[in-house]
Symmetry: C2
Subunit: 396 residues, 2 copies
């Protein structure tokens, strides 16, 4: 039974990923230090519904399915805690069987501060983002180098690493011809926030580890994710993933739907022509699973652009409005001064065929999919706090 270790297993994507692999018979261990939920408390961002602790979630899952997800509560920015996951010195904080499960064949690395506005709140949050994200990645590379060179790291990157260049975006790499000579390099990266810049820096670090130590790494350049329920969470509401709808941790589709539900105008930043690639949370799980089934080679940094389709902010606002209105809601779209520093109209032509080539079947953002998200958000309507939606964190 293959063993998957999920770093950041309490987060928006980490927990559904744990359920997905567990349901499919994998041994699963999740690690988290509750960074995300503590940050939500500190910044008073609100959540659509409360989520049980990771230990409670593991117990609910076990009672409902008989399956075990082992839990470790640890700060992986501490290299000793990271190494404990490999050398067996860790203690499980929740497990049916407390014996060390052994070295995982696959490590899924989500253990990062994931918000652009958070990273730009002020110098303290910038320092936390930088230190956390880069130390965790570096500690992971060294632990794998020292204990598990054959294990496959699946790392979540972001499409935001590329920014919005005036040339077509390839899947991670680019052959460059210059003065009659050629070489192949990482595709140029220049990100639009400090958070996204830490992901660029992660890529530099992983590419170094792959070249020096022949590690196996898959880097998933993900776009913004939307969605709530996954197949595995349907059996018990308490298994639903953490859902934020504020400006700091809420991704755009999730936020727009929540705004529509309470009659808060959809906030479009500036001209609204900002185009990005998006995907359903179910597709994140598929992409990680398909990557696990076809691991990167030893000495390979394999990069996929993890998006299923592209939309401008205006298109997303219009779609949310259309679906909201069809449900009898009044949905206004309001353009506000852009607090970010970004191009509001730009060229954007990314390639993203690699994941479908290894078996991913896209779930597109249809009116039906949006409707099912509206259904869930409306159930929790009374929990929604209008005051936390917009804070106007400025990039400048």
């Amino acid at each position: 039974m293959s063993h998957v270790l999920i770093l950041g297993g309490d987060g928006y994507l980490g927990w559904p990923t744990a359920l997905y692999f567990s349901e499919r018979g994998y041994q699963v261990t999740v690690v988290d230090n509750y960074f995300r939920r503590n940050a939500c408390t500190e910044l008073d961002t609100g959540m659509l519904y409360p989520v049980p602790t990771l230990l409670e979630r593991a117990e609910i899952w076990q009672k409902q399915t008989g399956r075990e997800i082992k839990v470790v509560i640890a700060d992986l920015a501490d290299p000793e805690r990271m190494r404990g996951l490999f050398d067996g010195s860790l203690q499980y904080d929740w497990a049916l069987d407390k014996a060390f499960t052994g070295i995982a064949q696959t490590i899924v690395h989500y253990a990062e501060q994931p918000s652009a506005p958070y990273s730009l709140l002020d110098y303290k949050h910038a320092d936390i983002t930088l230190s956390n994200n880069l130390r965790v990645t570096n500690n992971l590379l060294w632990a794998v180098r020292d204990f598990a060179r054959d294990s496959h790291i699946i790392k979540l990157g972001t499409m935001g690493e590329y920014g919005t260049p005036d040339i077509d975006i390839e899947e991670g790499w680019l052959e460059i011809e210059h003065k009659g000579r050629k070489d192949k390099f990482l595709f140029p990266r220049q990100a639009g926030s400090l958070y996204h810049t830490t992901k660029v820096m992660d890529t530099d670090l992983m590419w170094f580890g792959v070249r020096m130590w022949n590690l196996r790494v898959t880097d998933l350049m993900q776009g913004p994710v939307y969605g709530i329920e996954t197949e595995e969470s349907r059996i018990d509401d308490r298994l639903n993933t953490i859902f934020n709808y504020d400006e700091i941790f809420g991704t755009i589709v999730n936020r727009f739907i929540t705004q529509a539900v309470i009659g808060y105008p959809l906030t479009v930043y500036g001209a609204g022509g900002q185009t990005r690639g998006y995907l359903n949370i179910k597709d994140t799980l598929q992409c990680v699973h398909m990557s696990e089934l076809t691991p990167a080679e030893s000495g390979e940094l394999r990069i996929f652009n993890q998006i299923m389709e592209t939309f401008s902010v205006n298109q997303l606002a219009e779609m949310t409005q259309r679906v909201g209105v069809s449900r009898g809601l009044e949905v206004e779209i309001k353009s506000i001064e852009n607090p970010r520093k970004e191009a509001e109209e730009h060229y954007y032509n990314p390639t993203y065929q690699g994941l479908q080539a290894i078996g991913v079947k896209p779930n597109y953002l249809t009116d039906e999919v949006m409707n099912s998200m509206f259904d869930i958000v409306e159930r929790y309507r009374d929990n929604i706090r209008e005051d936390v939606i917009f804070k106007g964190v400025k990039w400048g």
Copy 2:
């Protein structure tokens, strides 16, 4: 009187830079946490001669010249200490006049762990290198963003960021044509050690700061530096910069000369065809000074390749041997198994005209220059410890 703030002012380059600016009438403040000399103690690397503390050095300089270099002992990985240098909450640890000198017009950033082998000793030293180098750079960018957007940051990068690509190396930037469209990007970077990778990551971070906050940054992509004395240090031996000759902190020319002096065979790694750009320590000072005189524009990341000529390792070994033999020394060259993972024969064609265009006059590595270095090293011959020269820190 313009004010220059030197971060990492106790180091091999930081201290001579402080003397250089002070001698030319600038207000100078140096900051350091003694990282380098503490690391030399921890790793027992030896030094050619002991160096006084930064406070003692400032006092010697003041007595000899009447000039004041203010000293702050602080760990700049702590954002609050970094901000203290701008908001006036700092306390000088040495100064004739204790009153806050005000915000510097120029900040020279040397405050990094500078050794490739150190960064690859083990996971702990990797974590220290990563945390220190990136947090200091990030803290600096935020302090300048918040208090001093018009100040000019002069940052020491490294030619090692580029690695050894199969195309010509430009000064920092490259226009790329792809599928009929064009855009300009940072020149591709892929470094050969973790230390060098932190410098690549620094560049990502500074480029972000420049784009978001219109900072003024000059990035000096420096090659390995050689030399001991500078014009300013000649007046008192106690003003000489820290000089290492071991594998961890000793740069190659300094190390080869020391090895030649004690009859330790010159250790060439592998085939010895590794070609890099080099410069005299006097030219580092000139380059920083000329950059200060012609600051980067607001919103400009100006990048210079800071080398004056290129040599292969074999060429440096042969030159050291030739000069050593002419002085009556027996100098053997010995190829050893390369502990590093690097190309031992490769294409290397870097551009480096920018600094000369703003007024730098190169000091080339001649037999005469090498002879004057031999003179000094021989004076301290009895201090040289043969046992610390080679440790064989492996990249793998």
